[in-house]
């Protein structure tokens, strides 16, 4: 590494630990910025140093770009890695870092701002010749009715400032649309500081397919294959896999190509994920959005490509050109990840914080476990409920499912409720085995 020597990790949980490990791999020093309740977290203990940036509520710590930059400067870091969630897609953090001479490990602020504006991103995709769903911004109830008639019901009401599954509502008919429009607008304003809404056609039988791309600062863009994340609950992913199962080779190539085209069109830099919805009835695919961060599910891509994506992020941020070509990207075998969450499935997936009196996961060569937890660790109530990601790579999809099922049977957690049995039900289900799962399947067939 030429310019980066000490990295400030502006995140918590498993991803903070993941970043610390990647930095260690590259011989970089790390400083983890924690909230008051995360002072004794595993990431903070593994890092060269940790600093407490604020109280437990994220709005007073992990979401404060001013504190993050101040802490990075005060600990003489030269780069900030934002992880995922929190400030990872904040143009403000990216520009503030740059103004203070720090390298932001992610795309430039302007690209993040464009990507965060889902309406602008749609326009850019259309201009680049990437298919988008019929849709349009709506400003009044009357106009919404008119647009809805053109698009047809059911349709989705989406917040322009949303993304990542947030700010989306389904309207099955005109009455539902009328009923939710003003609430959607005020919620969008409150949650994203942006009241703009747009309507988009809803694909009933949809798969979520996303392409991992990597772009260096010298104009080179490659993809690292795609992932399928169709097992979702309320637009939040539960199980992810790579490569996408049951996909026509021509469609697979087209989606991968579209992702690279889009990334080039917007001057993308660093790692990103271009998300598509695949209509399983017609085989058509449509651009959804681009995510400017490392994804939770990045390990499945690492498992089948053999590349360390967080290391790659840091190398690109340091100005290094990509050290491999598209032809050198190979997909070997099949990988599946499931997210073990501290939540009470029987009670509406209520988060289940608490102290882990027992936390045991198997230690197998085929299994990778990304987790920040250990027996005695506390899962605080302030943040998301992700406890661990279990990732299996095998020669084929069936074997990967089998090993992951065995692994989940061996997971032992006491002290909090988890979604372990739900994960077992999904992986053990015939529909999942056949690769016949669409994005509405989990809530329809299991929950």
């Amino acid at each position: 590494m030429k310019h980066i020597h000490r990295v400030f990790v502006a995140n918590r949980g498993e991803i903070a630990l993941r970043i610390v490990n990647a930095c260690e791999e590259l011989g970089l020093e790390t400083v983890v910025g924690t909230s008051d309740v995360d002072r004794n977290g595993l990431a903070a203990r593994r890092a060269d140093r940790s600093v407490c940036i604020g109280p437990a509520p994220a709005a007073q710590s992990y979401l404060r770009d001013d504190l993050v930059v101040q802490a990075a400067l005060g600990t003489e870091c030269d780069a900030i890695h934002p992880g995922y969630g929190f400030l990872s897609e904040s143009p403000k953090l990216a520009s503030r870092a740059r103004e203070n001479g720090l390298t932001f490990v992610g795309p430039p602020a302007e690209v993040i701002a464009l990507s965060g504006d889902k309406l602008r991103a749609r326009e850019e995709a259309a201009q680049a010749g990437v298919p988008i769903l019929p849709g349009e911004q709506v400003e009044s109830a009357a106009q919404a009715d008119e647009v809805a008639q053109r698009i047809g019901y059911p349709l989705l009401v989406k917040a322009a400032g949303g993304g990542g599954g947030r700010g989306i509502k389904l309207a099955r008919d005109a009455d539902e649309l009328d009923a939710l429009l003003s609430l959607a607008r005020s919620e969008a304003g409150a949650a994203f500081g942006d009241e703009r809404l747009y309507l988009e056609r809803f694909i009933a039988a949809a798969r979520h397919v996303e392409v991992q791309i990597a772009a260096d600062a010298h104009g080179d863009v490659v993809h690292l294959g795609e992932r399928d994340c169709s097992v979702q609950r309320r637009y939040q992913k539960v199980i992810e896999e790579a490569p996408a199962p049951v996909l026509e080779p021509a469609t697979r190539d087209a989606i991968r190509g579209a992702a690279v085209t889009f990334a080039q069109a917007i001057g993308y830099q660093n790692l990103g994920t271009v998300e598509f919805v695949l209509d399983t009835d017609t085989g058509e695919y449509y651009f959804l959005e681009i995510n400017c961060r490392i994804q939770v599910e990045h390990p499945v891509t690492e498992a089948v490509t053999g590349r360390d994506l967080v290391v790659l992020q840091l190398q690109i941020a340091d100005g290094e050109p990509l050290n491999f070509t598209q032809d050198e990207v190979t997909i070997d075998g099949h990988a599946i990840e499931c997210r073990l969450n501290a939540e009470d499935v029987a009670h509406g997936f209520m988060p289940s914080p608490g102290t882990l009196s027992l936390f045991a996961v198997p230690d197998w060569p085929q299994l990778r476990v990304d987790s920040h937890l250990f027996p005695g660790a506390v899962i605080p109530p302030y943040y998301d409920s992700l406890m661990a990601k279990l990732i299996v790579r095998a020669d084929d999809r069936d074997s990967a499912i089998d090993v992951l099922l065995d692994a989940l049977e061996d997971v032992d957690v006491e002290g909090v409720e988890t979604n372990r049995t739900l994960l077992i039900s999904v992986l053990g289900h015939d529909d999942f085995r056949r690769g016949a799962v669409t994005t509405d399947w989990l809530e329809r067939a299991i929950v």
């Binding site: 008051d36 600093v51 407490c52 940036i53 604020g54 109280p55 437990a56 509520p57 709005a59 007073q60 710590s61 001013d66 504190l67 930059v69 101040q70 802490a71 005060g74 600990t75 503030r96 509502k169 009923a179 939710l180 609430l183 919620e187 409150a190 949650a191 009670h347 509406g348 997936f349 209520m350 988060p351 914080p353 608490g354 109530p381 302030y382």
Partner: protein, 160 residues
Amino acid sequence: MALSAEDVREILRIIDESDLTELQIETEGFSLHVRKGGGEAGGSGRPRARSVSQGAEVGRPSGAPEAPASPPTPEDERDGLVTIPAPMLGTFYRAEAPGQPPFVEVGRRVEPDTIVCIIEVMKMMNSVPAGVSGTIAEVVAENAELVEYGEPLFRVEPET
């Protein structure tokens, strides 16, 4: 029992206007657990955010902001001194500007609203009050250095 988003908003509005700090409703197929503001009340270990476990998505209503938490002021058990902790992360300055006398020195009497230092966050200067009555016994933090949230800045001999 099917609740619309409108119903949920109405429930939240009623709770907001009441003196309740915490409410749990459970009927068949529906449970609602609400806790107001940033209060520390209750010890159920449940999340402090409002959570609604049926259909509707409800965010924190405007007008009910989380109260800014301030770090505790632990009393040192050895010598009865109390600590003034950093209320935020930032650069610690003992004086208004370079060359000026420090806000407080050892031996200086302070009231809860006496300004004892400045903490700078991204060019924003934040005055820090003592928060206690007593006499400054020790200046713990180094001038112009980064202090963490909650880090001891001063130790004070409290008034008895």
